[in-house]
Symmetry: C2
Subunit: 288 residues, 2 copies
């Protein structure tokens, strides 16, 4: 069992109730410190999706909307799932991650069926925009330790689990020379050998360093809301992720990511709204 | 009082409870017919936002995620609002539109404060992508009656309330010659004289004909989930809306819209996932 599967494991305690535990092995730490470490939002979403899919009449999380209210502790928490509609094409559930009696993450999820390369007939209408252009993986930068990583060499926490190889055109911020464009592009996979699936896509759509690093911003950029769409079942292999921003203003920025699989198919899309980074997430948690 | 303000009016009946009524004056009808008419999703969101903002500690709906479960009847309905977090920078509520004991629309909303041209200091970091390029409004096509409009001349329902003037590059589908690109661009305003605000932005982000009409699709394209972000308070004047799609597959398509105000500022963004059109929405309502 991979660390990712351990970290997102759930245990059903009653109908619609699950015990989970945000896992420090996927935590991020802002440069200024901050206690406790904040677990990556995508890992929390993946964990909650396991609870939802456990009782879903459809196999895929087509639309997942998550609002992040509080930074959960790396301690046991409860997920409650309530089905609001179970239709023939789509079903919708509400899921809440609750700790100390308070909602930390509130999600609404619509499940359905998306194309699977393993089989199934094609739909009548099919169209896709241009894929991202990336240098070959060997010419990309192994991100390694970066602001947000934990431990003396940045190898603990999230950065120790996820391998990102970024297009060098989007990594100037690492050397104090941000490109001036809020974009991140690169290859994405777990350091563990594990094929992508819906849960890993939930991680990939929020997996890149914040796009505003490309504008010179630094520090923890807390996601306030993230919605992602699963568009196809990914084939095995490394994922490509391309993220961009359209607008930074008033302390808010949006980030849109597309995830493409090793066969060149668009498998997931996301958009989030987040706060421009502050010094430490503990400070931010207090401020909100 | 404008028709839009009447159609989105709410009445508080108890703490966190409101009486509303989906209004046939903003209904859409698929070409194949269908009873009852479906009220435009943006109007439903605007109505629910009135309920949320009635008790919000912050003025603006920064992030609104809506999942559409059932087509509400044009009859009285109830909106229930529950606050999950009320923080200094952001507050999050859940809102449900309920009719006949069933949830028709489930929303999660995070409120906060976005820039207002009327005042306030600028934030430290500010950046915006390129705005849409549109011909002058006088060279754009008054959409008038279109598939989805109601009444003998298409002047009843939604099309009777909203004036859309589309870039002719995106209207070939009206003459059976779709451009082959899933994009819609145009100017957007109410036929009533009314300045844009958060509620009208909720309408504008889902206001264009479905982008897949540009690929030759037709018929009602039911929105399954739509999330939109308010990025600034709009100045008075006509809005520009640019919508595009990235992927159509397996019967699903995404649609992303940006809304720019008369001063050339990005004021709202949305993304939705929807089903490719079928013959009539009554048929679809049964199928889901």
């Amino acid at each position: 069992m991979t660390v990712f599967d351990e970290a997102t494991a759930v245990r059903r305690t009653a109908a619609g109730r699950y015990e989970v535990r945000p896992d420090e092995r996927f935590a991020l730490l802002a440069p200024g410190g901050g206690t406790p470490p904040a677990v990556n939002g995508g890992v929390l979403i993946a964990t909650m999706l396991r609870c939802v899919l456990d009782s879903s009449p459809h196999p895929h999380p087509v639309a997942t909307s998550a609002h992040f209210l509080r930074v959960p502790q790396t301690a046991p928490a409860r997920v409650e799932v309530t089905w609001l509609k179970e239709g023939r094409t789509a079903a919708t559930a509400r899921a809440s991650l609750i700790q100390d009696g308070k909602t930390a993450v509130e999600m609404t999820i619509t499940t359905g069926t998306v194309p699977d390369p393993a089989g199934g007939r094609g739909a009548s209408l099919s169209w896709t925009g241009a894929p991202p252009v990336l240098p070959p993986i060997e010419d990309c930068v192994d991100l390694g330790p970066w602001p947000g990583a934990i431990g003396p060499d940045g190898a603990a926490g999230y950065a120790g689990q996820v391998e990102m190889r970024l297009d060098p055109a989007t990594t100037g911020w690492r050397d104090g020379e941000p490109a001036g464009i809020p974009e991140m592009r690169g290859y994405f996979r777990l350091r563990d050998d594990r094929d992508p699936d819906a849960y890993l896509l939930a991680l990939a759509v929020d997996g890149m360093p914040p796009v505003v690093f490309g504008l010179g911003a630094a520090g923890w950029a807390p996601t306030v809301e993230l919605t992602w769409h699963m568009r196809a079942v990914p084939v095995p292999g490394v994922l490509k992720v391309a993220a961009r921003c359209r607008h930074v203003s008033g302390g808010w920025f949006d980030e849109e990511a597309e995830v493409w699989d090793a066969a060149g198919r668009l498998v997931a899309q996301s958009r989030q709204i987040a706060r421009v980074g502050r010094k430490g997430h503990a400070e931010d948690a207090r401020a909100r």
